[in-house]
Structure formats: structure tokens, C-alpha cells
Amino acid sequence: MSEHAQDFILHLEQLAECDRGALAALRRSASFPPGAYPPAFPYVERFVPADSHADDSFRLALYVSAGLFALLPRHQAGQSLAAAFGKLWQHRKSDSVEKRFIALLDAEPEQLPNYLRQAVTLLAADGYGLDYQALLRDLNYWLSPWQREQYDGTTSRDKVRRNWARDFYRQHETEQG
């Protein structure tokens, strides 16, 4: 999947450079439920596996990532969304950023795109970039309706959330330490 994801991000970056209309359509799509805004289809649908159905978590993840990328077209490998948000929190020293992040962690899959859109808008305002490949992978886990429980009771969604929490609060530690 990582190669596929890499191609997708490359494709988005190309769009950002030479097709502002496409980017505008994707940006607009972020206000709709993922995969429900037809003008965005031409740019995303070709990356959707042929045998997947409309609510497949990977398809949804592609649309969410594409919409977010259009809001903040700056791919920065190695900096996860949570880490970037943690840096923002450190920089602004604002409790509301932490509250937003906690709301994001607690979000149900249906609410998630909305919270993510708000978070990315904040990041865009301060000029942070983020790793869209990692985001695509995490969203694929998070949005999946099939959450198989591990032997210790955690699900893949929990694991993503746990990693996000770590990435976010580690920024706090490294800044302080």
C-alpha cells in the first residue's frame, strides 16, 4: 500500500503545482462527507481499488486525505499530524489546541473528517506541513468498520489513537526537556 500511497501523494502534489481548479474542487469536497462530492471524483477515484465498495475505509481515507491536502498542500515526510499539532500547541501555548486534540482523539469515525478539517486549517494558518502518507495509513485503520480486537482488548483504531497521543505529547516533552 505504501507505494500506492506514495503515488497518490505525488499525484496530489502535482495537482497543487499545475491544476488549481482540481485543488479547489478537492478543497470544496472537504465540506462534504468523504466520497460524496462528484467534482472530486476524477482526481481520487482512479486510486480506489477496483473491487472495493463505496464505503470501503481505504476509499474514504483517500477522499479525506485529498480534501485535507487541498487545505494544506505541504507534504512533510516524518511529521505526523499529531506531531505537527503538538508543535502548534507548544508554539501557541494555548489550551484550546490541546482540547481540540483531545476532541479529535475521542471522535467517532463519522465526526473525524470534520475535526481533522479544523485541525488542518489551524496548521495551515501557522504554516506547518504533515506526512500525508502516514495520515492515509492511519485513516485507513481508523475508518475501518472492522476493528478486530487484539488479545489485550485493543483495536487497530486504539493503536492509531495511542500513537497520535504519543506523538502529540512527545512534542511537549522534547520542547521542555
Binding site: 482523539l105 489485550d152 497521543a165 504519543r166
Partner: protein
């Protein structure tokens, strides 16, 4: 004496019942007593030790450790013991009109007890009687089912040693506890019953003539039962003390018992300077504490209590273990020694739990105080880890709860942690690695012991921490608390990791 009533396990593993005469005659072919109730087991060993001791005292007068080493190698002096038992044969009858074995005949005629009887469950520690809670036993006090007299005698022995103090309401309002109440009693174990008895036997002393077991004393009068508590005259007295007065009432067939007479016994005064020879003491925050079976604290955590302590700062091991060690030296016994720790824990008059555990301690640990100190050091480190973990985990749980700044939240978090699986997981993970640690210390391979115990602590901490994280849940608040408490946890792990892997980050 001839009747089979003591369950024993033969060297080939078969369990059978024997009488006292047969038991001493074949002590070399028996691996040990096969009693399943820990208090009764210890009490039976004590009975045998008192008989052995008195038989030697009467047959030989004095004896040295060289004599004992001979008995250890070649078997017990069966003729001396038989002569002794035959001499007191009458006193070993269970239903003797004047000298019933381990009972008080006077209860049959005394005004206070003549017309009163109680069900036999009164003296069975495993039975529910009076206001004790019903757990497994559903006997009803008003309609006791009769029990075979030999079985009841075994219960009686355990009861006399382990009865908790408290209300009696006959002859006296309350009575002192038995010699071993609320104690985890230690017994060294040999390969055969004969060796076990040699190892655990109390040494000869100058005033042995005064230290008589119950059956050698005259019949107990009611006035003696009403009297003040008295100090034990020696181990024989302690091992067979009638801490409650009991008289079994045989049913028509003479083989079973349903009811008994019961009264206060010959109270045992506690002497701080002469602790029970099977009781061990560990250093608590306010001085020495008698070792018992505590809830949530496995006995191995106090294992060092059984070992010699040169400074006398940490523990007072049971005297019986030092006697065993003294005997092992002249016979050149250098293999590891097995120790049985059994007994009963009680809170006031409420019986809480009983256990029988066995530890195999390497020779070096028993002989050298510095080896014992090493073990103490290892155990102390794992205890320190746990208190660190406990602190970090409490913070984690408190932060994951609603209203984290409330003053009671931290104590609620502590309760949550104590009721959770973390502590049990931590200590059971370590316990699995304990035998190996003991072996390594025994062989003086301290570097390996160090590495081994570090690994064990590392695994135990990981398991316990994962349990705490699971317990705290997966809400955003809990995730936040987990991440924030993690540095404290990592700092516990850090010194336990091999240098090469310190840099590795665990990212699930």
C-alpha cells in the same frame, strides 16, 4: 498408638494411614506426612517432634549433634521411641476415662461443662461454626454429622496449635491464642520422615526434665483452666499445649464422634524473648513482625526472612531452621534444603486463609550471611521497582479519571490499582524466575544472577504497565494520561535494559 490415623506418603508416592508405633518404626521409608490441611500438618509434625524429643530424653538423657547425625544417616532409634511410647501407652488412648489423649477429662464432671455439649465442628478450623461464614462447608451446628474419631483427632491437633484468641464463654470469657495462631510456620524437610524429624528436633538442654508434653503431666483440673496464662516451659510444652480444653464424646459405636465438651484451655502467655521455634519474624516499620500469610503479598517476597542475618537488622529466622543447619554441617550435607512453610492467617477470631508452600534453598544461602544479603538485595530491588511502578500507575489512573484535581481522586486511583491485576501480574512474573535466581546465587554466579533478575524485572514491569494501561481505558483522556505517565515508567525500565537496546523505541 496402634490404630492407623496419621496419613503418610511413602517414598514410592503411595499414601497410607499408619499408627504412631508403625510410623516411627518405618520413618526411613516414609517421605513425609500427607496431611492436606496446612495447620494440621504442622501440628502433627510438632506432635512427632515432642515424642521423639522425650523418647531421647528418657532413653539417653543427653545427646549431642554427633548422635543426631547418626540418626540422620542410619535411621531413628526405634527401640528408644517404642520403649517410650509403650511406657505412656495408656495416655495415648483417645477415650481414656482419666487421661484421654490431648483432652481434659475433668470437663465430664465439671459443673460448667457437664450439661453442655457442642458439635465437633467447633474444633475443626476448616468448618463453619458459630458465626463463621459458610464457604464450602454446610454443616449445621444443631445437627452435627458424626465424624471418625481419628480424623477428628487430627483436626484437634491443628486447632490446639492454631486457634485464634478470643471469646470462649466457658470457664473464662476469652482465651489466649494457640502457639502458632496467625503464623506461617517453617519446617526443614529431609528426604525421609526420619531425616525431617532429625533436622527439626529441638536440641537437648539442661532443664529438659521440666519441659513435659501434655500426656506426661497429671490430669488437668478445672482450676488450672481458670488460671492466669503461663509461659511455655519449652518446646515440648508449646508443641502439645492444650490451648483449649476439649473432651470428645464417643457415639455408641465408639469409633465416631458427633459432639464434644469445650472450655477455655491452659492459656499460653507470650514471651517476647522466646518466640516459637517455627515462627519467623521480619522487620516491619515498627519493629519485628511475625511472618504470616498476608493477602496480596506472596510469601516468597519475604523469603530472605528464613535466612541467617548477621546484623540482625532484617529478620529473625525460625529457630528450627538454624537447628537444621547446625545438623547439616557435621553430616556434610551440601545439597539444597527444602523448607515447608505452612499455616494459617487470621484476623482476630476470623480465619482468613491457609497455605502450605515449599521452597528449595541452596546451601550457600543458608550458610553464608553474605549470600543471604545478596538475595535480600535482589528482592529489595524488585520491591523498589514495584513502588515506583505503583506511583506512576496511580498518577496515570488518577489523570484518566473525571475530576482529576479532586483531593480524593488519587486515593480512588490507588484503590483501583490495588483491585486491578497489575500487582499480581508483576509479582507472579517475578516468581516464575525466582528458582533460577536462587540457583545462580547458590552457585555464586552473581553477574548472571544480576542479568537474569534484571530481565525478569523488565518483563514483569512491562506486563504490569500494560495491565494498568488496559485498566485505564482508551478514552482520549486515558491516552493522554498514559502518554504523560510514560516517562516515569521508562525511567524504571532504563537501568534494566542491556546497553545496546536503550535507543530502541517501542512504537506499537
Amino acid at each position: 498408638m496402634d490404630e492407623p490415623w496419621l496419613p503418610v506418603r511413602r517414598l514410592d508416592g503411595r499414601v497410607e494411614m499408619v499408627g504412631l508405633l508403625e510410623l516411627f518404626a518405618r520413618a526411613g521409608e516414609i517421605s513425609g506426612l500427607a496431611e492436606t490441611d496446612p495447620p494440621n500438618l504442622i501440628a502433627q509434625y510438632r506432635l512427632l517432634l515432642a515424642i521423639f524429643h522425650r523418647a531421647l530424653a528418657q532413653g539417653k538423657g543427653q545427646w549431642s549433634s554427633r548422635d543426631m547425625a547418626g540418626y540422620y544417616r542410619e535411621g531413628l532409634p526405634a527401640d528408644l521411641i517404642h520403649a517410650y511410647l509403650e511406657q505412656w501407652r495408656e495416655r495415648f488412648f483417645l477415650f481414656h476415662p482419666e487421661f484421654p489423649f490431648m483432652q481434659v477429662a475433668a470437663l465430664a464432671t465439671a459443673e460448667e461443662t457437664r450439661d453442655k455439649t457442642k458439635p465437633w465442628t467447633q474444633i475443626a478450623l476448616s468448618s463453619s461454626t458459630g458465626n463463621a461464614p459458610v464457604v464450602f462447608d454446610h454443616a449445621v451446628d444443631t445437627a452435627p454429622i458424626s465424624i471418625a474419631a481419628p480424623t477428628l483427632l487430627r483436626q484437634l491437633l491443628g486447632f490446639l496449635q492454631f486457634t485464634p484468641g478470643g471469646l470462649v464463654k466457658t470457664l473464662r470469657d476469652s482465651d489466649k491464642a494457640g502457639a502458632l495462631a496467625n503464623t506461617a510456620a517453617a519446617m526443614p524437610q529431609g528426604h525421609s520422615l526420619a531425616q525431617t524429624l532429625c533436622l527439626a528436633l529441638h536440641p537437648a538442654s539442661a532443664d529438659m526434665g521440666k519441659d513435659l508434653p501434655t500426656w506426661e503431666k497429671g490430669p488437668l483440673a478445672i482450676s488450672a483452666l481458670k488460671g492466669e496464662p503461663t509461659l511455655a516451659t519449652g518446646p515440648n510444652d508449646r508443641y502439645t499445649r492444650l490451648s483449649r480444653a476439649v473432651l470428645l464424646l464417643p457415639e455408641g459405636d465408639g469409633l465416631t464422634v458427633a459432639r464434644i465438651r469445650f472450655a477455655a484451655g491452659l492459656a499460653l502467655a507470650d514471651d517476647e524473648h522466646a518466640p516459637d521455634s517455627m515462627a519467623s519474624y521480619r522487620m516491619g516499620s515498627n519493629g519485628l513482625v511475625r511472618l504470616s500469610f498476608t493477602e496480596g503479598r506472596a510469601l516468597w517476597r519475604d523469603l530472605a526472612t528464613f535466612l541467617p542475618d548477621a546484623g540482625g537488622k532484617h529478620a529473625l529466622p525460625a529457630a528450627v531452621l538454624s537447628w537444621a543447619e547446625k545438623l547439616r554441617q557435621p553430616i556434610g550435607q551440601t545439597s539444597a534444603m527444602s523448607i515447608l512453610v505452612a499455616g494459617l492467617a487470621s484476623d482476630q477470631a476470623k480465619l482468613l486463609r491457609w497455605r502450605a508452600e515449599r521452597f528449595v534453598l541452596p546451601c550457600r544461602l543458608l550458610e553464608q550471611a553474605e549470600a543471604a544479603d545478596e538475595l535480600r538485595d535482589f528482592l529489595r530491588r524488585s520491591e523498589e521497582d514495584f513502588s515506583g511502578l505503583r506511583q506512576a500507575a496511580t498518577t496515570l489512573l488518577a489523570r484518566s479519571m473525571p475530576d482529576e484535581s479532586h483531593k480524593d481522586t488519587r486515593s480512588r486511583a490507588r484503590t483501583l490499582l490495588d483491585n486491578g491485576p497489575a500487582a499480581a501480574l508483576y509479582f507472579s512474573a517475578l516468581e516464575r524466575q525466582l528458582p533460577r535466581l536462587l540457583d545462580l546465587i547458590g552457585e555464586s554466579r552473581l553477574d548472571e544472577a544480576d542479568a537474569h533478575w534484571n530481565d525478569a524485572r523488565h518483563v514483569a514491569l512491562e506486563q504490569a504497565w500494560a495491565a494498568v494501561c488496559r485498566q485505564s481505558g482508551t478514552t482520549a483522556k486515558a491516552l493522554r494520561a498514559q502518554t504523560r505517565a510514560e516517562p516515569a515508567y521508562r525511567s524504571l525500565l532504563k537501568p534494566l535494559r542491556p546497553q545496546s537496546s536503550v535507543e530502541e523505541q517501542v512504537h506499537v
